[in-house]
C-alpha cells in the first residue's frame, strides 16, 4: 500500500463515531486549557495519560492530537483578549492582537487567528504526511552512531537555542538526565541511584515525572500567587472578518506557514523564532506599516499561522525519528511507550495504521477547531472567570490519581510531591521545564545508543564518528553553538540589528 492508501485507511479509522467523539472531546479540552494561562496542552496530555490503560491507542492519540492543536487555538484567544500569552509561542500574537482588541477589532483579530491557524494547520499536516515517511525510511538505514548524534543534537538545540538563558537550560537538562539515570543499569545489572529502594530499580516512571513537573509544580506555583488583581478582559462577540481583512490576511497566513513548518520540523524546534521572524517580515512587507504597534491584522495573521505550522512541524521528528522537540510531543511520546510501542524510525513500518489515523485525525481536529472556535469564542472568554482554587483542586486530584494509577504504588505519590516541589523551584528560579522532560525521555535512549556504538567499536571513541550523517550532525551542532558567539564578535547579533531597525523607525517618525 502506498502512503495515500494508508491515509485513506487512517481517515476511515478516525471517522468512526466513537473516534470522532474522542476528537471532539480532545479539541474542546485542548481549547479550554489553551485559554487558561498556566495550563497547557502538555499538562493536559500528562494528566490524561492514565486513559491509555483502557482506551484503544488510536482513540487516545486522536484525543491527544485534538488537545495539541486545540491548545494553540486557545492560546491565541487569551493573548488577544487578555494580553497574557497562554504560551511562549503566542507572545508575538499578543503584541498586535491585544492592540487590535483594544481598538475594538477583537472579533477580526480572533477570526484571523482562528482561520490562519486552520490554514497553517492544514498545510502543515499535508507537509507532515509528505515528509515524515521518507525521513523515517532514511532514518531506518542509520546506525547507532548517527542516531546518537541526532539525539544529542536535539538535546543541545532544545537546551541552548530555545529559551533566554543557556545556563538555565543546561541546569534543567542535567536535572532531567540525572533523573533518567535512576534504575538498574541495562548492561551490567547494577542498581544506580536507587537509594536501596527496590521500587526504584525499574527507574522512575516518566508519567509521574511529567505530571509532577507540569501539573503539581504549576499548581504549587499558582497557590503561591493565588490572589491577584484580575486582568482587564476585552468583551467580544462572534469573530468575523470583512473583505479588507481577508485581503490583508491571506498572504501573511501563507508566509507564516512557510516560516513555521521548517523550524518546527528541525530537531531544534520551537515556535518562538518563526513567530518572531514572521512578525518582522509582515512589518516590512505591509502596506499599512503605520498600523504596526497599534493593531495591524497582518501582525496577528502571520505569527499565528507560523505558530500552528510549527506545531505541525514538531510532529515530523516525533513520528519519523521518535524525537520530541516540544513538551506536548514529549508527553505524547510517553503515551506510545505506555502502549508498548517503541517510538523511533520504525514507527511507520510497524504501526502504519496508528500513525496514519493520527495524521488523519489532525485534519479532522483542525477542521473541528475552526467550526467550534468561531462561534464559541465568547464562551471561551467566560472560562477565564473560573476561580483558580476550584481549577487547581481538580488538577491536583487528577495528578494524584494519574501518578497512583501507573503502578498502584504509594512511593509514586511521594515522588510526585518531591518532583512537584522541584517543578515549583524551577518556576521560582526561571528554569525552563522542556529540557528536563526531554532529558528524562532521551537520556536513557542516548545512553543505550552510546554504549551500543562503543561496544560495537571495541570501546574506541573514534567509532562514534564513522558514519557521515553523524559527522555532519556534530558539525551542525558546533555551528549552532558557536554562531551566537561569532555573531557577537562581529557586532551583528540579532538584538543589535533590531535596535538599528528601531532607531531607523524613530528617526523616520521624527522626520515625519
Amino acid at each position: 500500500m502506498n502512503n495515500f492508501d494508508w491515509f485513506l485507511q487512517g481517515l476511515s479509522e478516525a471517522a468512526t463515531p466513537m473516534n470522532l467523539l474522542y476528537a471532539v472531546i480532545g479539541v474542546l479540552l485542548g481549547t479550554a486549557v489553551g485559554v487558561l494561562p498556566g495550563i497547557g496542552p502538555a499538562m493536559t496530555v500528562a494528566l490524561l495519560l492514565p486513559v491509555t490503560y483502557n482506551v484503544s491507542p488510536s482513540a487516545a492519540f486522536i484525543m491527544f492530537a485534538g488537545i495539541f492543536y486545540g491548545g494553540m487555538y486557545g492560546g491565541s484567544t487569551t493573548s488577544i483578549l487578555l494580553n497574557t500569552p497562554g504560551e511562549s509561542s503566542s507572545v508575538i500574537t499578543a503584541i498586535e492582537g491585544n492592540k487590535m482588541a483594544k481598538a475594538g477589532r477583537a472579533a477580526q483579530a480572533l477570526a484571523t487567528a482562528a482561520i490562519g491557524s486552520f490554514v497553517a494547520g492544514a498545510i502543515g499536516t499535508v507537509l507532515l504526511a509528505t515528509f515524515a515517511p521518507p525521513i523515517s525510511r532514511f532514518a531506518v538505514t542509520l546506525g547507532a552512531p548517527s542516531y546518537l548524534a541526532i539525539m544529542v543534537f536535539a538535546l543541545v538545540a532544545v537546551t541552548a537555542v530555545l529559551g533566554a538563558s543557556k545556563l538555565r537550560g543546561a541546569i534543567s537538562l542535567f536535572l532531567g538526565l540525572a533523573i533518567g539515570c535512576v534504575g538498574i543499569d541495562f548492561l551490567t545489572g547494577q542498581p544506580r541511584a536507587t537509594f536501596g529502594l527496590p521500587q526504584l530499580s525499574d527507574g522512575i516512571d516518566i508519567v509521574v515525572i511529567a505530571v509532577a513537573i507540569f501539573a503539581v509544580g504549576e499548581a504549587l506555583w499558582v497557590a503561591a500567587h493565588l490572589r491577584r488583581r484580575p486582568a482587564e478582559i476585552i468583551p467580544v462577540g462572534r469573530p468575523w472578518m470583512g473583505r479588507e481583512d481577508w485581503k490583508r490576511s491571506w498572504k501573511p497566513w501563507l508566509r507564516g506557514t512557510a516560516y513555521g513548518f521548517p523550524f518546527g520540523a528541525l530537531p531544534a524546534g520551537g515556535a518562538e523564532l518563526p513567530t518572531f521572524l514572521s512578525y518582522i517580515t509582515e512589518k516590512r512587507l505591509s502596506k499599512h506599516k503605520e498600523e504596526f504597534g497599534k493593531g495591524a491584522i497582518e501582525g496577528v495573521a502571520g505569527p499565528e499561522a507560523a505558530n500552528n505550522a510549527s506545531a505541525a512541524g514538531t510532529l515530523v521528528p516525533m513520528l519519523s525519528l521518535g524525537l520530541p522537540t516540544n513538551a506536548t510531543a514529549a508527553v505524547m511520546l510517553t503515551a506510545f511507550v505506555s502502549y508498548g510501542i517503541q517510538p523511533g524510525p520504525t514507527l511507520f513500518e510497524k504501526e502504519p495504521l496508528l500513525i496514519w489515523t493520527l495524521i488523519a485525525s489532525l485534519f479532522i481536529g483542525n477542521f473541528l477547531l475552526l467550526v467550534l472556535n468561531l462561534p464559541l469564542a465568547p464562551l471561551w472568554a467566560r472560562l477565564l472567570r473560573t476561580p483558580r482554587p476550584y481549577l487547581y483542586a481538580g488538577i491536583l486530584f487528577f495528578a494524584a490519581l494519574g501518578a497512583l494509577a501507573v503502578n498502584v504504588q504509594p512511593l509514586d505519590l511521594a515522588l510526585l510531591l518531591v518532583f512537584g516541589l522541584l517543578g515549583l523551584m524551577m518556576r521560582r528560579f526561571g528554569l525552563p521545564v522542556l529540557p528536563l522532560i526531554i532529558g528524562v525521555i532521551l537520556g536513557p535512549r542516548i545512553e543505550r545508543q552510546l554504549r551500543q556504538s562503543l561496544q560495537l567499536g571495541g570501546g574506541e571513541w573514534t567509532s562514534l564518528f564513522t558514519e557521515p550523517v553523524a559527522i555532519i550532525t556534530y558539525v551542525l551542532m558546533a555551528i549552532l553553538l558557536l554562531m551566537p558567539l561569532v555573531l557577537k564578535l562581529m557586532h551583528r547579533s540579532e538584538e543589535t540589528l533590531l535596535i538599528v531597525e528601531d532607531d531607523k523607525d524613530q528617526k523616520e517618525k521624527a522626520e515625519a
Partner: protein, 128 residues
C-alpha cells in the same frame, strides 16, 4: 457615612444611584467599595480602570464627598461588613439579583450574607 457595595454591572450601578440619592438626603459622605477575591483570571464585576474613572467623575459631579476603594484578594461580604463596623457607618446599599437555588448552593450569596449579618440597616435595590 453610607457604604455602597459596587459591582461593574447594572446591579452595582443601581446601588450607586440609590446610595448617592440617600447621601444627598442625609447630607453625609459615601464609601464606595468594589472588591474582588482575585481568584480568577478575569472578574467582570471588578471595575476596570476606564469605568473607575467614569464612576469617580459621576460621583464628583453629584457634589457628594466620597471615597472609592478597590480591595483585591478579599471576601466581598467580609470587606463590606468590616466597613459597616465603623461607628460612623449608618447604611449599606447593595444591588440584589435573582439567583437560582443551585447557584446559591454552589457559590453562596453575598447579598444574603450581608442582609442577615449586617448589624445596621441595609438598603437592597434593583435596577429599574
Amino acid at each position: 457615612m453610607i457604604v455602597i457595595g459596587y459591582s461593574a454591572d447594572p446591579y452595582g450601578r443601581a446601588a450607586l444611584e440609590h446610595g448617592i440619592a440617600e447621601a444627598k438626603l442625609r447630607q453625609t459622605t459615601l464609601l464606595v467599595i468594589n472588591a474582588t477575591s482575585g481568584e480568577s483570571y478575569a472578574d467582570p464585576r471588578f471595575a476596570q480602570s476606564g469605568e473607575v474613572h467614569d464612576v469617580e467623575e459621576h460621583l464628583a459631579s453629584c457634589g457628594v464627598e466620597f471615597e472609592l476603594t478597590q480591595p483585591v484578594g478579599v471576601d466581598t461580604a467580609d470587606e463590606l461588613l468590616t466597613a459597616m463596623d465603623r461607628p460612623d457607618a449608618a447604611l449599606l446599599v447593595i444591588g440584589i439579583r435573582h439567583r437560582s437555588p443551585v447557584g446559591k448552593l454552589l457559590l453562596g450569596s453575598v447579598s444574603q450574607q450581608l442582609l442577615l449579618e449586617c448589624p445596621k440597616p441595609v438598603l437592597a435595590v434593583k435596577p429599574a
